[in-house]
């Protein structure tokens, strides 16, 4: 058990450094580790855990928490979560201090100007991934489009839209 918990922490710490594009972009890597190499779970369990993480509130990385939980209970969940967060968090905290110091230099301004549109594209790509992975039909996509237009114009709390979506689904409209 101790070996598995340590292994979870070390493996997800390593994954943390190659997780460009976030945890969702890392699914093939995680699958290779937990299903093929360590054989901690089968394909069906892997897919089910991903579904729960998608449905749950909170950051996408909670999928990794569920993997840890499946392998070694709550302690496994904590070890995997710390592994996927901590190393790069510390790195970013140190880097961010320098980023602040460089404020105003031409290269720093140029990088900021260049990064901003990429961020817009990545958020948009995440939206596309949600639509694609949830296998939405035309009525659900109409709901997505409606929420997009309203939320882009209004400053109402986004949770109302999510609740309305859940209600529409529960009533069998989607």
């Amino acid at each position: 058990m101790i070996w598995q918990i340590t292994d979870l922490f070390v493996q997800f710490s390593l994954l943390n450094f190659v997780a460009f594009g976030g945890v969702t972009a890392m699914l093939p890597e995680i699958h290779r580790l937990v299903v093929e190499q360590r054989q901690w779970m089968d394909d069906a369990t892997f897919a089910q855990l991903f579904a729960i993480a998608q449905a749950a509130p909170g950051p996408n990385l909670l999928f990794v928490s569920l993997i840890g939980w499946q392998v070694a209970g709550i302690a496994g969940g904590i070890a995997a979560t710390l592994g996927i967060c901590l190393p790069v968090s510390i790195f970013i905290f140190l880097l961010y201090q320098h980023w602040e110091k460089f404020r105003g230099t031409p290269w720093q301004q140029a990088i900021e100007t260049g990064i901003a549109p990429l961020a817009v594209g990545l958020v948009c790509t995440s939206g596309w991934f949600v639509v694609a992975s949830a296998h939405l039909d035309y009525r659900s996509i109409a709901l997505t489009a409606g929420c997009t237009v309203l939320l882009a114009r209004q400053t109402w709390h986004p949770l109302w839209f999510l609740a309305a979506g859940g209600l529409a689904g529960g009533l069998g409209w989607l």
Binding site: I52, A116, A119, C124, T125, V131, L143, L159, L162
Partner: protein, 190 residues
């Protein structure tokens, strides 16, 4: 640089932890839009372009965008303690929630009603992400030159299924070089 309002005074670490917990636990279908809504529009402790810059930096670096952003936001508002408070708040409450959900899903997850509700939430959540992208695009400088890069990422990943790391790196280098040249050119004109 017109139209950017001066930010409100930042909350303390404990308040940051509570704010982050609330964001984390209500973040169905994406936490990033809620962080932006809370800090930029509700509390007004960050400006829209501050948020874009931080998010851009965090998305280019590896790891969870949400945790990375939480570290940046916390560090900006309250140093090391702020970073720990905001990042742990974002993760801890939903972590507890997801452990409970895992148990509940084991019992009732097969019911069609549950699956219908979740599909509706996912559809609205996707709309939330698209709307956030639209709002962020309003803060992009010189949109005619730089917004096509956003489109290139979407097409590259969604249509051509290119791996993200090299795509981001390549586009970042090109966009930065263009921005740097234009910056130098505009300084020489003056």
């Amino acid at each position: 640089m017109s139209g950017t309002e001066s930010p409100a005074p930042p909350p303390g670490p404990w308040r940051l932890f509570l704010i982050a917990s609330r964001i984390g636990i209500s973040g169905f279908g994406g936490v990033l839009p809620l962080i932006r809504h809370s800090l930029v529009e509700e509390l007004r402790v960050l400006t829209g372009s501050d948020f874009n810059t931080m998010l851009g930096l965090c998305q280019v670096l590896p790891g969870s965008n949400v945790v990375n952003l939480a570290v940046c936001v916390g560090a900006r508002l309250h140093g090391a303690r702020g970073a720990i408070a905001f990042a742990s708040g974002i993760v801890l409450a939903p972590f507890a929630g997801v452990m409970l959900l895992a148990t509940a899903y084991g019992l009732w997850g097969h019911l069609p009603f549950v699956q219908d509700v979740l599909r509706g939430v996912a559809a609205a959540g996707a709309g939330l992400l698209f709307a956030t992208a639209l709002r962020m695009s309003r803060n992009v400088r010189e949109p005619r030159i730089y917004l096509p890069f956003a489109l290139l990422i979407l097409i590259g990943v969604a249509v051509f299924r290119l791996p993200l790391p090299p795509l981001i790196l390549a586009l970042l280098i090109v966009a930065t070089l263009i921005a740097h040249r234009r910056l130098i050119a505009s300084k020489q004109q003056r």
